[in-house]
Amino acid sequence: MPTIRFLLAGGEELAVEALNGRSLMETALENSVPGIVAECNGSAACATCHVVLPDQIMSALGPISEHENDMLDFAEAPREAGSRLSCQIKVSDILDNVAVRIPSA
């Protein structure tokens, strides 16, 4: 069970135990992580589950779909190099102890 460290928009850190195979967005909702709204519940349609990941994780996760890539340009907080939709990322051991930042709008 990897531990995910959510860095909240206010600066605090919330470390949660995550289940492999769940999405990062589901993990955030199950732990009431503030700032992950996830209106479309994981369909990559709303862009309200935006997170920012460290560079080395971005490369380890593999390519972003064309749809997600388009969506990310329109998330409320400005896109950064490590921006992803958390609903499109499956929790796995490579996320253990990784800092997942919730960008502030």
């Binding site: 209106e39 519940n41 709303c46 749809h67 329109f74």
Partner: protein, 391 residues
């Protein structure tokens, strides 16, 4: 012990059409699930309950083969779930993504709005439903779908006929006939356009569905969904946003001074008077909704219009306040059926049409506040809005 569903039997259908919000408030305070006899439906009206329901599509399914919507337009993505739904949704999304809207649709939508406004600009007076919002919404939709050669009144007629047909619970033969005629009209327009889109792949929804390998049946049905569900809502939200701002000149002044606020103003407009007030889900098992038991096979109406006025979430919900505390609303639904046209609508209404209206129709004001009509509950919006300006 689970509670039984409470019943409201002293509200008329006309009460709902005239103004559903007092009914919604009463129902919301009465219980999480309340049967409203006049509408013959069990209403879910609280924000948190609807959000939770939309996160559990296995229990609260959109699948309903017997639904009138399926009868009228054929099996379509709104009444599918899971992988079947995802495939059809993925086939239309490439035409509706926000980046595609910006690259491909912003310019033609800008031209449509400019043209519609040019036709009335010199007159100093107009009725904004007929003269502005309906033609803009219909013409923009034609471009996005990839349908040429159908004029806007025909699109409006098709859209309304399909909507009426899907709500024709009393089996009125005239309504059924008109819906059938509209369905045939759409099919023949699609047939006429398909060769062009086959030969010239482009960003339109028709082309996108062809590129995704959808069958003609799927194309027919989902184009009808987009015509039935993609015209009224932008039309109504254009009018609602204008109405809210004309009634609140101080808010209008702040937005005009800071145009980045237009987006926020639009979200408040669709929260305030949600163009779609209710949509259904069917239970696949017995379940308690916040302690009230609902049985397998029954249908609940998710009243997003009511949730958007839930005073557990929004303070002074009946007030139009662009500057209220920022919170997500449910006007575009939630979950996997979250409106596919969200990004088109945001661009069309809040970035193009309404800013242009206030830019070009100087000193715009309501002709007389008492002439404004707002009506409907499943679909709600201004139906008559005479205005004047300095021409």
């Amino acid at each position: 012990m689970a509670e039984a569903v409470k019943v409201v039997d002293d509200v008329t259908f006309e009460d709902l059409l005239a103004n559903p919000y007092p009914v919604f408030k009463r129902v919301r305070d009465l219980g999480p699930v309340v049967k409203v006899e006049a509408a013959n439906i069990m209403m879910v009206t609280r924000f948190d309950d609807i959000m939770a329901i939309e996160r559990d599509p296995e229990t609260f399914s959109s699948v309903n083969p017997q639904s009138l919507l399926n009868t009228v337009i054929g099996p379509n993505l709104m009444r599918k779930d899971g992988a079947d739904h995802a495939r059809e949704r993925a086939a239309i999304d490439p035409s509706l993504r926000p980046g595609v809207v910006k690259r491909c649709w912003a310019e033609p939508m800008q031209a449509i709005c400019a043209d519609v406004i040019s036709r009335i600009e010199h007159k100093g007076e107009a009725e904004l439903f007929e003269d502005l919002a309906a033609p803009i919404a219909a013409r923009a939709l034609c471009d996005i779908l990839g349908i040429d050669g159908v004029d806007w009144p025909t699109m409006v007629l098709w859209s309304q006929s399909l909507i009426d047909g899907s709500g024709n619970y009393s089996h009125n033969p005239e309504i059924a006939r008109k819906a059938k005629e509209a369905a045939r009209g759409v099919e023949s327009a699609v047939n006429r356009m398909l060769p062009h889109h086959r030969d010239n792949p482009n960003a339109s929804m028709l082309s996108s569905m062809l590129q995704a390998g959808q069958t003609t049946e799927q194309i027919y049905a989902n184009i009808k969904v987009a015509i039935g569900g993609g015209l009224n809502e932008p039309r109504d939200s254009i009018l609602t946003l204008i109405l809210g701002l004309l009634q609140n000149p101080d808010q209008l002044a702040r937005i005009r001074a800071e145009p980045s606020l237009w987006g926020q103003a639009f979200e408040e407009a669709v929260r305030w008077i949600s163009p779609i007030g209710m949509y259904p889900r069917r239970l696949t098992r017995d379940v308690e909704i916040s302690g009230t038991l609902v049985r397998e096979g029954e249908q609940v109406g998710l009243c997003v219009g009511a949730a958007n006025h839930d005073d557990r979430r929004f303070s002074d919900p009946e007030k139009f306040d662009v500057f209220r505390e920022k919170k997500s609303h449910l006007a575009f639904g939630a979950g996997s059926h979250f409106c596919a046209g969200t990004w088109v609508s945001r661009a069309l209404v809040s970035q193009i049409a309404v800013p242009m209206v206030f830019e070009r129709l100087r000193n715009l004001r309501l002709k007389a506040p008492e002439l404004v009509r707002v009506r409907g509950w499943v679909f709600r919006g201004p139906t008559h809005m005479p205005v004047v300006w300095d021409a």
